[in-house]
């Protein structure tokens, strides 16, 4: 070693970068937790907002968020699993169709979230919604406006690549011998895929679902024009209702509130609730994926 000091300072410099990133993460999480945790009470989680959002809780926003992501999962889950099955089990790697599908999914993952908002408005609300109104409601405005169902569908398009990637990874981790054994028993291709392979990729399906839900719970830009509302006196009960949502609530409350100082404590608490929600989901996904890797290693 000719320049040991250079070596040592390089290690120090790069370690400093890691330290800085971890510290910044700590500052972001710590400051929000510090300012918010006192106000996160049972009442806060279960009550509706009162007195111009300065008192009460955020229950309608939590309810709306949960409803949104559940509905989204119903749409994105089956489709994502099927596309992942195509990639892992059916696709001919040399075909143009495979390349196009792969390219499409990659591009979908890179589309800015605000563009999904425009798409949701232009396609789901203006085109599909209008179409439904003209066909079934005699042109009366029913589905041709921002609504829960359109927000859920927009989110489903946004989270599709997340589900595909994680299910595909799990399908690929299923050992080839399982498929061979299934075929040797006389099973057809579809029987093999759905009874011998897919059940062993269950944790991947679960991870994909959790990651998609976590991503959707934190996204605000796609639903800005597709159904989120700042305040509603009633909880949404129908698919064409508007809804309150945690992320949107934070955005409006922190930028357009007439009295920011009065809403600040509750705002911090709301951010903490959203953070806790997405973090618990992410941690769950990481844990499930870690178990998946261990299982895949021991199966080989």
């Amino acid at each position: 070693m000719r320049w040991p000091w250079l070596d040592r300072s390089a290690v120090l410099l790069t370690a400093l970068a890691v330290l800085l990133i971890v510290a910044m993460l700590g500052v972001v999480l710590g400051s929000i937790a510090y300012h918010g945790w006192e106000r996160v009470t049972w009442e806060f989680l279960t009550a509706a907002p009162r007195a111009g959002m300065t008192e009460g809780g955020v229950f309608p926003a939590i309810f709306g968020t949960v409803l949104l992501v559940l509905l989204m999962t119903v749409f994105v889950g089956p489709l994502g699993v099927c596309v992942a099955i195509y990639f892992s089990e059916y696709a001919d790697r040399e075909s143009w169709f495979y390349r196009w599908t792969r390219q499409a999914v990659n591009n979908l993952a890179g589309v800015p979230s605000i563009v999904f908002g425009l798409f949701g408005l232009g396609f789901f609300v203006q085109f599909v919604g209008r179409g439904v109104d003209l066909a079934f409601f005699g042109g009366q405005l029913t589905y041709g406006q921002p609504a829960l169902i359109w927000a859920a569908l927009t989110m489903a398009v946004l989270t599709l690549p997340v589900v595909i990637v994680s299910v595909e990874e799990a399908l690929r981790a299923v050992p080839q011998s399982y498929r061979d054994a299934s075929y040797a028993l006389g099973a057809t291709k579809s029987q093999t895929v759905f009874r011998a392979v897919l059940p062993h990729a269950f944790s991947g399906v679960l991870t994909g679902g959790i990651l998609a839900v976590s991503r959707a719970a934190g996204e605000v830009a796609p639903i800005l024009f597709v159904g989120a509302a700042y305040f509603l006196p009633h909880l949404p009960t129908r698919l064409n209702d508007q809804f309150m949502e945690l992320g949107y609530h934070i955005y409006v409350l922190s930028t357009q509130s007439p009295d920011v100082e009065a809403t600040k404590p509750l705002l911090h608490a709301t951010v903490l609730v959203l953070l806790a929600l997405t973090f618990l989901l992410n941690l769950a996904a990481i844990a499930v994926r870690a178990r998946l890797r261990v299982a895949a290693r021991s199966a080989r």
């Binding site: 320049w3 040991p4 250079l6 070596d7 390089a10 290690v11 790069t14 370690a15 970068a17 890691v18 800085l20 990133i21 910044m24 972001v28 999480l29 400051s31 929000i32 099927c82 596309v83 099955i85 195509y86 990639f87 089990e89 059916y90 696709a91 790697r93 169709f97 599908t101 499409a104 591009n107 890179g110 589309v111 800015p112 605000i114 563009v115 908002g117 425009l118 798409f119 232009g122 396609f123 080839q176 498929r179 075929y183 057809t188 291709k189 579809s190 029987q191 759905f194 976590s214 934190g218 996204e219 605000v220 830009a221 955005y251 930028t255 600040k264 951010v271 959203l274 992410n282 990481i286």
Partner: protein
């Protein structure tokens, strides 16, 4: 592929159910292709009147969007003004381009060195247990919703920056850029770390055997080998930064000013759509211009993602060549 061989052998008396399932799976793959086309068509459809509609051209033309206009007086010329809601609407995209560029530049200058250095540390120098800890921690950073980062920048970071550096404006390009950098770090880090991990250890051992130190090995062997992957991370991070909305919407101050001063408020392309579309009249020139901006964003990120994917492909080709 043994799968295809076996399935081909089992297929001649193909049961109809098997055939149906296969069609169904192919159809869902087709849906994935259809979705990206639908996005392009339906966002582009609302943007098209900016180029073709005479009614829109009465209020705004492509020249007004892109070229300098004469909105000021002789003494104070105002060539670029974004003021869509006024007695005489003015639609110059230049302030928005400049704002996006400023915020993105700060985010990239902040995130790139940090993320790449951190990736070098975790793959080249860190003990195994530390590497296994750092990766999930950075993944947690990626899991923070952008609205939360925006909130953090709006309420806490902005105040701290103003008090520490005595800035004139609380919300400005620096504030938004730093918060945006936090969102970009995980993207660059993950891709750089993947690329460095993919560099075969035989290269590092060969370098050590020739008497190189660990830093020399990292700098002259591992980093050059992983370079396409690191560039891919930077390109994809750039794409994310340009399209990211909630952070800049909340933290940038949203003033469409044409200036190179990084301590002034800025308005980006994405934030403009988010802030204005909700209040705009459906089908008005303003509405179409906002979709036009969306199409631009879509096109730019599309090209960046394509570039990034190509670089990852090149890295893979290079490294598989190296191990053989």
């Amino acid at each position: 592929m043994s799968t295809t061989v076996i399935s081909a052998a089992a297929s001649p008396p193909r049961p109809w159910r098997d055939w149906l399932v296969q069609r169904f799976i192919y159809a869902s793959a087709l849906v994935a292709i259809a979705l990206i086309l639908l996005i392009f068509v339906f966002v582009g459809r609302e943007a098209l009147p900016v180029l073709t509609s005479a009614a829109v051209h009465e209020e705004v033309t492509l020249e007004q969007l892109l070229l300098p206009q004469n909105y000021g007086t002789e003494e104070v010329p105002l060539p670029y003004v974004w003021q869509p809601v006024s007695a005489k609407p003015k639609y110059s995209l230049m302030p928005l381009f400049l704002g996006t560029l400023k915020v993105t530049l700060i985010a990239m200058l902040f995130a790139t060195p940090l993320a790449v250095l951190a990736a070098v540390y975790t793959t080249e120098f860190a003990p195994r247990w530390l590497r296994e800890t750092v990766k999930p921690v950075v993944e947690l950073l990626a899991g923070i919703p952008s609205v939360v980062l925006g909130f953090f920048a709006l309420i806490l970071l902005a105040t701290w920056l103003q008090d520490t550096f005595g800035l004139d404006y609380r919300l400005n390009a620096i504030n938004a850029g730093l918060a945006l950098g936090l969102a970009v770090i995980p993207i660059i880090y993950t891709l750089a770390e993947d690329a460095l991990t993919a560099v075969p250890d035989s290269l590092r051992r060969a370098s050590s055997a020739l008497g190189a130190s660990r830093w020399q090995t990292a700098q002259r062997v591992a980093l050059p080998a992983a370079l396409p992957g690191i560039f891919a991370g930077i390109v994809l991070g750039f794409g994310r930064a340009i399209g990211e909305t909630m952070i800049v919407l909340m933290a940038s101050g949203n003033a469409a000013i044409t200036s190179w001063d990084f301590a002034e408020p800025v308005r980006t392309l994405s934030a403009t759509i988010a802030a204005e579309l909700a209040e705009v009249v459906f089908g008005s020139p303003h509405y179409h211009v906002l979709f036009f901006i969306g199409t631009l964003l879509f096109a730019v990120t599309f090209v960046l993602n394509w570039l990034g994917a190509r670089m990852v492909g090149r890295l893979r080709a290079r490294l598989t060549g190296a191990t053989q």
